[in-house]
């Protein structure tokens, strides 16, 4: 805090430089003065504009053991591997017996569900309320890989519509397990309490009686994968899966919510990476050098728009692609040293 008195050396200068700074609000002073936000730029929790779910909706105050995003004792990668292995084992068990046994659940899950079942609310029977979902544009699967579009910190929003515990419940297929009481109705997505390997609900099944792009069982698998990936912070992967689900059923509210949330987070992460949209984009390579790159036509199109005059914002406006897709391409081309940014 800038409350130190002027030292003698200061006084020797014969004036009080920047005296008006003293009147600044201490709450917004720079880091060394104790108020700067120390979070990483691409930490999703630092995002103010993303329509992330509220803490209540995200079930952040639940038992830490229920949340794969808050496991302090083992690294997240190990946890994911473990969870997936357990899920595989369960799938195998299910093929042998449809009855779910609590004993087959992992320890952390069993502990959580046992405590919940004691005082939890009755199971929810009403369907998820219909909500008008805006028509979402689907980003096409990029041909370039954006594996680095992940948060550096291990703090990311929990899956929309369900906590990790809910996901775990789905994987276990524990029909007797009541949902958590503090989940809002919308987050109790349709089929959230059904066994993972059971048949899809009748409505879903009839929807897939027409030539489907994803079979019912694949559908469930994809949904679980989507949620797993989301929970582990693989938003690109979760988005791809959500879009695959939406291709089969554009009215899939669950997939829509995941897709929207993934897009928001990814957009914010990429925005943080490229910086101010007022920067002018320039091509670094010559046309001859460009031809040696491995780009798809969308990146080629984006590249063709770059004229050294247009800013990032203008390029996003005219690219004709979803903002996220354009940002991905821009970010990748900057990483590949094909493009560079310059102040306007």
């Amino acid at each position: 805090m800038a409350t130190k008195k002027s030292s003698p050396s200061n006084q020797t200068l014969g004036r009080r430089p920047l005296d008006s700074i003293d009147s600044l609000s201490p709450s917004s002073l720079p880091p060394e003065l104790g108020s700067l936000d120390m979070r990483w730029d691409d930490d999703p929790r630092s995002v103010g504009t993303i329509d992330l779910l509220s803490s209540q909706e995200l079930d952040l105050d639940g038992d830490a053991g229920e949340r794969t995003t808050a496991v302090p004792d083992i690294p997240i990668a190990q946890l994911v591997q473990k969870t997936m292995a357990e899920a595989d084992a369960r799938e195998q068990n299910h093929s042998e017996s449809q009855d779910f046994e609590l004993d087959t659940a992992p320890d952390y899950w069993r502990a959580a569900t046992t405590s919940n079942s004691a005082g939890g609310p009755p199971p929810i029977t009403q369907p998820a309320p219909s909500r008008e979902i805006p028509n979402l544009e689907r980003a096409q699967t990029p041909s370039v890989q954006y594996g680095n579009a992940r948060p550096q910190a291990q703090l990311w929003p929990e899956p929309p519509g369900a906590s990790a515990a809910d996901l775990a419940r789905e994987q276990h297929g524990n029909r007797n397990q009541p949902p958590r009481s503090n989940l809002p109705p919308f987050s109790r997505s349709a089929g959230a309490l059904r066994p993972s390997s059971s048949r899809p609900p009748a409505a879903l099944e009839s929807r897939f009686s027409a030539p489907p792009t994803v079979r019912g069982s694949d559908h469930d698998g994809l949904r679980h994968q989507m949620k797993d990936r989301y929970a582990t912070g693989d938003f690109s992967g979760a988005l791809q899966l959500a879009e695959t689900l939406l291709e089969s059923d554009s009215g899939d509210l669950d997939a829509q919510r995941f897709a929207t949330s993934c897009r928001d987070v990814l957009t914010q992460m990429l925005t943080s990476r490229v910086g101010s949209f007022d920067q002018v984009v320039e091509v670094v390579l010559t046309p001859e050098e460009l031809r040696w790159l491995t780009l798809d036509h969308r990146a080629g199109f984006f590249l063709s728009l770059v004229d050294g005059i247009l800013t990032i914002e203008e390029l996003l406006d005219i690219s004709g692609m979803a903002r996220l897709e354009s940002l991905r391409i821009l970010s990748t081309l900057i990483d590949q040293k094909v493009l560079r940014l310059a102040p306007r």
Binding site: N10, L13, S143, D296, D317, P343
Partner: protein, 608 residues
């Protein structure tokens, strides 16, 4: 004295000019281009794009990009031009509340004058940025064939854009004005205007006493540079299909690139013999690899591809001087207007038709705007020798039996004017006549524009041809047409006043003006903020670059640490103000940054 700008509001490109002393000059836009595409788009985020930036996304965002709004301005919903547009335009056209049409862009409905006003507003901004002062008056050009409704709609577009359109003049007249400005010519000229989307050809008489009279005008509203571009695109697409078996027409991004490249190559071929078209990564094959398009277009190929288009312009030109009852030899000069007239094959064809080279004294892209600027200056400076007279753009008359058009006021009659003609009844015992007021040149009433109608009743019962009715047409200085029908026997009379309508009510125009003014305030505010933002960026970078030196000089002392901390706080607040887009806060931070720099410099000079 307030400056009057001259605007060539074109179908595909617009241009703005001003008189600089005695010389008319074209004002370049921010990108340095002297013409701006007359294209308006709305992005997914709801942002408005105008000009080159809108053109660059015209194919990828075709549903929300309006081009060639001029073809629709002042038209009625059920007109053939609108029917045609409904089939060919990618954007959504819907019926308006006054038999007019509206355009839907994203979630907002625009009238056509409103869309044109966006382009005019852009021209206004270009002029204001150049002059550094507000501009409120303009002379705007329109094609010679525009009827009163289309002219009124153009005036309304100006009004919405915050411009008082003090005169609407014909494009060929403006071109002839720029050509003959101050030269005292007495000539018959032909204006061959091949623009981006339309072709107009007009025969004019230029009098030494400053009279510019359009004798005949004709053209094709669907023939222009874009058709030439399409031929190149077809050639490229077919070649690519042959080579790779991939149809590039199926991909919007590929098409957008093809269109841009085709136009560029076409322009290049006006000065060189070969143009390289190089479009890497134009399409993906599905095997995670992209194909490149690389072809060389020669001038010979281009001329072969577009030969028939040039021929069509020549046929229309022949038609124009036939309508003017002149031969090619009687034309003293050919004025070429529009970027397409730079094409050597066009120039050759015109020269061949008239047996002499066309005039090279005018700039084809700029000449119309220059003429408008000359006229604007003449109007405010009261230079009568340069002032064009307002004339009726089309003949006015009524429908007679057999659906014939009976002309009362001929085309190009100077206003104000009044003409009368006597008609008789066409049936026995006819007690009423219906007067249909029409505008146009066709002998068939149906082909002309209906301006209004009224019924004169109480006629004496008599055999056909015995009752005489005098019909009088009057046009006042404001262009308002009054039609009066009078039974000469009993003095019974009925009249109608016809005012041109753009399809908008005065309330609608007012509301649109308000919206446009709000947009302008917002835009100017954004621009002002941008200026401050750039200043902050520069100052912040200057402050930060001084940190190491300050650290070295006084970093060890309490004062030094304090000063550095405070300077960092200033930088933090400045950046925060930029993020918040708070103009007032930003200005305060500029002051703080400047003080910081002064203080740092003082410390360095003492310590160093």
């Amino acid at each position: 004295m307030e400056r009057v700008i001259g605007i060539d509001l074109g179908t595909t490109n617009s241009c703005v000019a001003i008189m600089d002393g005695d010389t008319p000059v074209v004002i370049p836009n921010r990108g340095g281009y002297k013409t701006t595409p007359s294209i308006v788009a709305v992005t997914e985020a709801g942002k408005r794009l105008v000009g080159h930036i809108a053109k660059r996304q015209a194919i990828t965002n075709a549903e929300n990009t309006v081009y060639a709004a001029k073809r629709l301005i002042g038209r009625k919903w059920n007109s053939p031009q609108v029917r045609n547009a409904l089939l060919s335009c990618a954007y959504t056209i819907i019926e308006g509340p006054h038999e007019d049409l509206r355009i839907k862009l994203r979630d907002k409905i625009y009238s056509v004058p409103e869309v044109s006003s966006i382009v005019l507003q852009e021209m206004k901004i270009i002029a204001e940025d150049y002059l550094g002062e507000p501009v409120t008056k303009a002379v705007v050009t329109v094609p010679a064939y525009f009827n009163d409704n289309q002219r009124q709609a153009t005036k309304d577009a100006g009004l919405i854009a915050g411009l008082d359109v003090i005169r609407i003049i014909n494009e060929p007249t403006a071109a002839a004005l720029a050509y003959g400005f101050g030269k005292g010519y007495d000539k018959t000229v032909i204006v061959y205007d091949l623009g981006g989307g339309t072709f107009d050809v007009s025969v004019l008489e230029i009098g030494s006493h400053g009279v510019f009279k359009v004798i005949a005008t004709t053209g094709d509203t669907f023939l222009g540079g874009e058709d030439f571009d399409l031929r190149i695109i077809d050639w490229l697409v077919e070649g690519f299909l042959e080579d790779h078996g991939v149809d590039l027409r199926q991909d919007r991004m590929a098409l957008q690139r093809l269109r841009d490249a085709s136009e560029k190559a076409k322009c290049e071929l006006s000065s060189v013999n070969e143009a390289e078209i190089n479009l890497p990564f134009i399409i993906s094959t599905g095997r995670n690899e992209a194909l490149h398009l690389q072809r060389t277009l020669t001038r010979t190929i281009l001329e072969t591809l577009t030969n028939d288009l040039v021929d069509r312009t020549i046929q229309i030109t022949r038609q124009a001087f036939a309508e003017a009852k002149l031969t090619a030899r009687e034309i003293d000069e050919t004025i070429l207007v529009g970027g397409m007239t730079r094409m050597p094959s066009v120039q050759r064809a015109v020269a061949q038709l008239f047996g002499k080279e066309p005039s090279r004294g005018v700039h084809p892209d700029e000449v119309v705007a220059l003429g408008a600027a000359i006229q604007g200056a003449a109007l405010v400076e009261d230079r009568h020798e340069m002032i064009l007279l307002d004339v009726t753009p089309h003949a006015l008359g009524i429908m007679t039996v057999g659906a014939h058009f009976e002309e009362l006021i001929p085309q190009n009659t100077t206003v104000p004017t009044s003409r009368a003609k006597i008609f008789t009844t066409s049936r026995d015992n006819q007690t009423a006549v219906k007067i249909l007021v029409l505008q146009g040149e066709s002998q068939k009433a149906d082909d002309n524009e209906l301006l209004g109608e009224f019924v004169l009743t109480g006629l004496r019962r008599a055999q056909k041809g015995q009752v005489e009715i005098e019909v009088t047409f009057s046009i006042n200085t404001d262009g308002i047409v009054s039609v009066n029908a009078k039974d000469l026997e009993n003095g019974q009379a009925q009249s109608i006043q016809v005012t041109a309508s753009s399809g908008l009510t005065p309330e609608e125009v007012k509301s649109m003006m308000h919206d446009a003014a709000e947009y302008m305030v917002e835009r100017r505010s954004d621009e002002a903020f941008e200026g401050v933002r750039q200043n902050i960026e520069t100052l912040v970078s200057q402050v930060e670059s001084m940190f190491p030196e300050i650290e070295r000089v006084v970093g060890g002392s309490d004062f030094g640490r304090d000063a550095l901390a405070k300077a960092k706080a200033v930088v933090f607040h400045a950046r925060d103000a930029v993020v918040r887009k708070d103009a007032t806060l930003c200005k305060e931070q500029v002051d703080m940054l400047e003080r910081t720099i002064r203080m740092f410099k003082g410390v360095v000079s003492r310590g160093g």
